[in-house]
Symmetry: C2
Subunit: 477 residues, 2 copies
Amino acid sequence: MKHTKVKDLLNSTQTLHEVNAKGWVRTFRNNQFIALNDGSTIHNIQCVVDFENTPEATLKRITTGAAVSVTGTLVESKGAGQKFEIQVSKLEILGDSDAEKFPMQPKKHSLEFLRENAHLRVRTNAFGAIMRVRSVLAFAVHQYFQEKGFVYVNTPVITGADAEGAGEMFQVTSLPLDNLPKTEDGAIDYKKDFFGKHTNLTVSGQLEGEAFAMALGQIYTFGPTFRAENSNTSRHLAEFWMIEPEVAFNDLHDNMDLAEDFIQYVIKYTVDKCADDLKFLEGRLLEEEKSKPQAERSEMALLEKLNFVLENNFKRVSYTEAIDILKNSTPNKKKKFNYIIEEWGADLQSEHERFLVEKHFKSPVIVYDYPANIKSFYMRLNEDGKTVGAMDILFPGIGEIVGGSQREERLDVLLEKMKVIGIDEEELWWYLDTRRFGSAIHSGFGLGFERLVLFVTGMTNIRDVIPFPRTPGSAEF
Amino acid sequence: MKHTKVKDLLNSTQTLHEVNAKGWVRTFRNNQFIALNDGSTIHNIQCVVDFENTPEATLKRITTGAAVSVTGTLVESKGAGQKFEIQVSKLEILGDSDAEKFPMQPKKHSLEFLRENAHLRVRTNAFGAIMRVRSVLAFAVHQYFQEKGFVYVNTPVITGADAEGAGEMFQVTSLPLDNLPKTEDGAIDYKKDFFGKHTNLTVSGQLEGEAFAMALGQIYTFGPTFRAENSNTSRHLAEFWMIEPEVAFNDLHDNMDLAEDFIQYVIKYTVDKCADDLKFLEGRLLEEEKSKPQAERSEMALLEKLNFVLENNFKRVSYTEAIDILKNSTPNKKKKFNYIIEEWGADLQSEHERFLVEKHFKSPVIVYDYPANIKSFYMRLNEDGKTVGAMDILFPGIGEIVGGSQREERLDVLLEKMKVIGIDEEELWWYLDTRRFGSAIHSGFGLGFERLVLFVTGMTNIRDVIPFPRTPGSAEF
């Protein structure tokens, strides 16, 4: 008979005469009670084995991690904590799990140990919940943009451009490294490489996205991006997923409105769809924080924090205002910041962003109109001649979650900027074409998907919200 | 005032006193009629300029490709072909487009020329339509799986494994190629590379997907995959997007049911949502085929073909039956095939697949239970000891669109197979863990997304259904 998902069994509106469930044993108590999970929900279904009529040899094989098929009756449970349970009439061991060897024992494991077993950690409650939440968040991203008529664009992963300047890039090659072809003057002959040129992994789909926005009006990307930076932190990955919408005719303020509406939509969607998983993760976080000093614990529980973001507008503050706030702040005056803010033009460090978000505004914050010389070449120069229409969204505990801008649509201004910082016109000929033919104002932003998943799940290390993290020295699996 | 999308203006239920539209000029006729497009729909809105009261200098700037903003009244159109048009009261040129230089002239361009201008081709009717259809198809993929409770899994793009054997791989490195670090014995010292080992771009997320299916039950991937194969054909890309569902407890026949239901769902969703774009693409195909000899033209028009797939079950035929059909076929007997089918065990070539689909069954075909020695190591060995539970779905005009299998869940059988073909156990330790701990039958398949887009749009070259194609010698943009 066809098996029924555990989630559907637990949500049943009635007892059922004969059901079959398949899944993995989480625990087996008293030689009688199997807690069975199949990944469809955080909850296990209790399966009551008729141990008197089950061979001892079979009972011994019901171990944590084993795959089993149980057939029986779905009855109301007398035990606490579940509405239904299965009275098992037939039990089949599908795949054994040696209790001595199975790494995912029913006990607390360190997150580091779980990372080393990324192929199995998803069989734990926490990682099952995280991965379901991640999936629902990803779908919410697509649904938001599609409902609004945005076109999903798959910008290339392998790129011949390396002028974007967003960070260090990985090289992609099919040349034999132990026998590199050389030109007459001894340089590596990239004409012989697969693409006939030097290629890298993309750091952003923005430039290609802009070209498409200047034809389709509203577009978004959602794909992997890469940084070959040796940042061994809890906030950086070498491979991560980025969401980059780009909208023709939007100015910087439209851009902020879009980003805020978007973030609130996807969080609301996920809060609605993943109540059980988020409740579990809220409990996990509370438990984890018990070992921390009071001052380092979160001020709000997970769901309270998510609802706070839904119910409150993000505070919008210009860079100039932010600098004033920081200059006059207690930690700045008392020289508690590592980087003392002395004058306009300083780059904001993580400590400053956290002060603004967590201490001063106690809310997500959008900082906009940054000094031109600390931001990217493609950002639109404001009328003041010294700031650009950039905006960063800062989140509590996460820091920068969104970086965006109105793009420089004026060909002459853009060319001048590229000249000053030394970007070759020839290299970006196609990007400049968008300014040569029917240019118009447009804006967009990038949101690092894993940082959003961090925020929503309450996890603190970005390696724990992506299936198989890629970091310096680590590309296992 | 806020602009309204062209799509919404054309779908208006009433005339409107004041509206604003922004977009790009497709054509400008009689110094009076602008065909304006903003990418929200294949249709242009006609904007009637009051040329007597518009400065000559402004009229001259209304050229193909220019970005303009028009304000005026939405009135019923007297002209044929549109319900509404805008009587323009105010016109603003946002961005000029030099009519002499703009590559996308309002005339027929070769597909090759358009590929060289992939950043601008999306401003044509055909490529606008293709990219909207692609986007809707992608969303349908997510919606199908999410509705069924599948978890979206982002498997890694950079991988340390190269045992998958699905094809040639690109190497990813951050080592300086002109100054490679060497070990004492002169080999390249990959310990110094970013990940401390030799890494490649993934050819498939299947193995990681299997590990997740053995915890979450039903998962799917949808991300970029890579082949460093020098295949300069109309069906191959070096970088393409792949969809790979994997389901615990599914056997090969469940797998075929899933694949068929999935393909029918996403095509139906797209036919419903993209009627205008598909109608245009149907016309384009008809036009294109006029230059072909009768025998090479499609038997069905585009929408007829799509509806045929929706209304008819895919024919299922075992490899053994397929070989019998082919052996006794006229082209085989008359030696018209390049590869004559002589006996059981032969690999099916594209010409054989096309014969089965286009001549014999005249329907999508699922061929299953292939000889073990022409298929991958992870496919489940059947009871006969010589075939594996593989299945390929073959589509008219496209050939193989899906390749899938029931996976070998028996550790001993899998190890033996790996040993025979020389795959190192150590390398796939984590994959083997899924068979060591709670193994169970499971199945999945891979669908090359661009081949699906090809089929649905009626295009014939895969380079025309992805924004910026990556092929040998070509990584522009």
